[in-house]
């Protein structure tokens, strides 16, 4: 029976000829991931199971990113639990700050995920690696603890919704705008238990950085995974970073999709998600005048080199509006170094931005830019729930780095055409 790319990767990892949506299968895990928040509980579970060794110290990645550099004693304790576990078990892909960054930026750039892999992470944005043509999904800490012991997990095979993007993108419209537009169509549970497959000539023309942004937010529609079939752009990215041979899985002709949604992109303008849902999306032209206290550019959604290039291109020759705080956090140490070499950091500093150390930072209201009562922020991140970035009465608007940089200059939500 013909299968989608998601079904084929699952079948390969379940050692089966074929799988169908709805089946429960047990799969081998190529990479298991946790961070400083989710790892300590997973480590407790691992120890409760009573195995003495992890299933494979080369197939586990433990990345301190949420509350680092540690913001308080509790977060330092959690990071210490993970660090000591990594040392005890010889975890190859444990990195200290200064050698990594946000987990979902770090794993691809270190070549730890390649097309055809199956990745499970104790973080809901693990779906990011679908941009590489891998199957990847988020779980809780207990699932991850068991995977660290056994190397296996159970999954229900998801039906696939195919999103087909055709047409020509307007200037300044990015992957972030496409995924926000799509979330506006699907809603926050429009793809629950489903695979979202991004396809069409528009996707083929997107850079890896923009593909990561799109796959990253698949979970905001409730999806199990978001995936893009690998092509020349994927292979070029992976060849520079990994010595493993990628498994170029593609969907079969005639594979069964639950739905196929065609999206004409010609008329799509920059998009903004209003409080308090990432699916509460409007085109920029319909936003009206929304004044801002803070703008944040960064996160696993939009903290990559191309995002900083966009921000610097918009900010060059301008300054941040008086009374507005612009916080820029490169997604990883490598992104930071490349941005420095290209002169982007100089442009951002010159415009009045503060540059933070690679971290999830203010995205989840942890540190490095928490909002006060009644404050309003525009952010390139992925969630804008009540109190997500600070006080329960603060508001978060989601958009691309292009819109974020333009808004920082104007002090209100704005696009580059207004500058």
């Amino acid at each position: 029976m013909p299968m989608t790319i998601t079904e084929k990767i699952l079948a390969l990892h379940a050692h089966r000829e074929g799988v169908s949506p709805g089946e429960l299968i047990e799969v081998d895990v190529d990479m298991a991931l946790a961070n400083d928040i989710t790892a300590p509980l997973a480590i407790d579970v691992f120890e409760a199971i009573g195995t003495h060794a992890v299933y494979d110290p080369e197939k586990i990645a433990l990345i301190p990113d949420h509350f680092v550099p540690n913001k308080d004693i509790n977060s330092a304790q959690q990071a210490k639990v993970m660090r000591e576990f990594a040392a005890r078990h010889g975890i190859l892909h444990y990195y200290e700050i200064g050698q990594c960054g946000i987990e979902h930026v770090t794993l691809p750039e270190k070549g730890l995920v390649i097309p055809g892999d199956l990745v499970i992470g104790a973080d809901s944005h693990t779906c990011t690696y679908g941009a590489l043509g891998a199957f990847s999904t988020g779980v809780g800490s207990t699932d991850l603890g068991v995977i660290m012991a056994t190397g296996k997990t159970w999954l229900k095979v998801p039906p696939t919704i195919k999103l087909h993007y055709e047409g020509r993108l307007s200037p300044w419209v990015r992957g972030k705008d496409l995924i926000l537009h799509t979330l506006g169509m699907l809603g926050v549970d429009g793809a629950t238990y489903r695979a979202l497959e991004f396809s069409g000539t528009v996707i083929k023309g997107l850079s890896m950085d923009q593909r990561f942004t799109m796959a990253n937010m698949a979970v905001e529609a409730g999806a199990k995974n978001g995936i893009i079939e690998p092509d020349g752009i994927t292979l070029g990215f992976v060849a520079d970073r990994s010595s493993r041979a990628p498994s170029l899985v593609a969907g079969d002709p005639g594979a069964d999709y639950e739905r196929v949604i065609r999206i004409e992109v010609d008329t799509i303008e920059p998009q903004v998600a209003l409080p308090y849902s990432p699916a509460n999306v409007r085109p920029l032209s319909q936003i009206g005048s929304i004044e801002l206290d803070q703008v944040f550019i960064g996160s696993c959604t939009n903290g990559r080199l191309e995002d900083l290039r966009d921000a610097a291109a918009v900010l060059k020759g301008h300054t941040v509006k008086k009374g507005v705080r612009l916080i820029v956090i490169p997604g990883s140490e490598l992104v930071y170094q490349e941005a420095l070499q290209e002169g982007l950091i100089g442009v951002l500093l010159g415009a009045g931005a503060v540059i933070g150390p690679p971290s999830c930072g203010p995205c989840l209201g942890g540190h490095l830019g928490v909002l006060a009562e009644g404050e309003r922020a525009l952010s390139t991140t992925n969630r804008n729930f009540i109190g997500r970035m600070g006080h329960p009465t603060s508001e978060v608007y989601l958009a691309s780095p292009v819109v974020a940089a333009s808004s920082a200059i104007r002090g209100r939500i704005a696009g580059p055409e207004e500058l």
Binding site: L24, I37, T38, P40, L41, D44, V45, A48, I49, G50, N74, A122, D123, S124, G138, V139, G140, S141, T142, D143, G145, V146, A149, T150, W154, V188, D189, T192, Y193, G222, K224, L364, G365, R383, F385, I386, G387, R388, P392
Partner: protein, 168 residues
């Protein structure tokens, strides 16, 4: 697997932040988390619950982050089962993994009012109202989910399974 208790009703899109706000995630002991369960939307929830009570909710219960603290808090207050029209995916896994069963029943989700006493037979896939005898069907538990709940959670399930594998 039978469950009996009073219904506590919640609407659509009950998110993990409203189940247990992020400011309480510095611990993961279920009894400690229980003290703050639904604290912003139903203050004192823990004190209202009799051990074994049942949550009945609408669509997409548990959506949002992957925090396992959410089902741990609900289990900690003494809730024995959640019936909903649908569940968010990661919450679904996390709840079974820590030994808290979930079952989907759109009709019971719509019909049951707060305070109703019900009996739920998960193997038969049936929900019965004590007073009136009215019945609703619910989706039978997949075998794997049933085995995990019978074992008391994924950790115990894996330990038992491993034990069996070593028996010649």
């Amino acid at each position: 697997m039978r469950f009996q208790g009073t219904v506590w009703k919640f609407g659509d899109d009950t998110d993990t932040d409203c189940i247990i706000p992020a400011r309480f995630l510095t611990v993961y002991d279920e009894l400690e988390l229980a003290r703050h369960c639904f604290t912003d939307v139903r203050p004192g929830f823990q004190d209202m619950i009799t051990q074994g009570d049942i949550i009945v909710a609408g669509r997409n219960f548990g959506f949002g982050s992957s925090r396992e603290h959410a089902p741990l808090a609900i289990k900690g207050v003494g809730i024995s089962l959640i019936v909903a029209e649908s569940f968010a995916r990661i919450f679904y896994r996390n709840a079974f993994n820590i030994g808290l069963p979930l079952v989907e029943s759109p009709e019971a989700s719509r019909a049951l009012a707060e305070g109703t006493k019900v009996s739920v037979d998960l193997l038969a896939g049936e929900i019965e109202v004590f007073d009136t005898g009215e019945r609703f069907s619910c989706k039978p538990l997949p075998d794997l989910m049933r085995h995990i709940i019978e074992a008391g959670g994924l950790v115990e399930y894996v330990k038992t399974k491993r034990g069996h594998e070593h028996v010649p």
